[in-house]
Subunit: 160 residues, 2 copies
């Protein structure tokens, strides 16, 4: 039996937009045969009054408590490297083959990532030269993970 | 009184996914103070049995019937140029200042654009090195147009 790899999407901040949550749910449902995909939201509600530096440091702390030593950590960051979907799929497939247990895809908060976190990441990835909110970035990311699953498994992308 | 510029998003194919339509509607609603934004769907249902060449030619014909001579036409294409959101905003602002009546943002069908259309476009733009379905590309595009509106008007991006 082939073990299903886990993909954890960590987002700094909660998604509250209902249609966005609905659409994300749909992709997560479609993903069930391929990956054990989980969304882990880190609440940032209590960080609203902090300075940028304090906030990034608090977020870094919260983020580090969520990841394990052998996770493959991909940070989403607008200054990261861009990948085609095919290249992203190859990377994910390589980790499936190598027995990686969990790929973490992490979306930063309003000020981006603390430098201490950037140096710990295995890859810093940008979805596009365009800028998105963390909420919308999460939706794009989950859609791309689904597309990656269809590429790896050689199935046509479901068109509804 | 300042005339509100029109932005027409043309998509080759209908979006049927409900949460995607809901989210798009939300961005369109938020856009009302800034642009006259319109979605024009070209139905591709009757083109399903055609060859790639025939289909692209039929799509090109339908697309040309939708645009006017003085429209500024931006084709979305995965091989197009990528722009940052700031650069995209500058371009849109330049057209507002110059009195452009309508910016057309057009998303191609499953096989992409016919060459005859590419040569008629004012700009060929790629949203990301990643690949999206036309449905999801349309959602990203509408979200970006909203972000462009917030940049041009100097208002903070609405976080819900």
């Amino acid at each position: 039996m082939i073990r299903i790899m886990k993909i954890t999407v960590i987002s700094m901040g909660e998604v509250k937009n209902k249609p966005s949550i609905e659409l994300e749910k749909e992709y997560l449902k479609r993903l069930t045969p391929y990956f054990k995909t989980e969304i882990a939201e880190i609440s940032t509600r209590k960080l609203a009054g902090l300075s940028e530096k304090e906030r990034k440091s608090k977020e870094a702390e919260a983020f580090l408590s969520k990841i394990k030593k052998d996770d493959y950590v991909i940070l989403l960051d607008e200054n990261g490297a861009t990948h085609t979907t095919a290249k992203f799929a190859s990377l994910v497939k390589k980790h499936m083959m190598a027995g990686t247990k969990n790929i973490v895809l992490a979306i930063g908060g309003v000020f981006g990532w603390d430098e201490s976190i950037k140096s710990k990441a295995n890859l810093i990835l940008s979805l596009s030269p365009m800028t998105f909110t963390y909420e919308f970035a999460r939706l794009i990311l989950v859609e791309q993970v689904y597309r990656v699953a269809t590429i790896i498994n050689g199935i046509p992308y479901h068109k509804e």
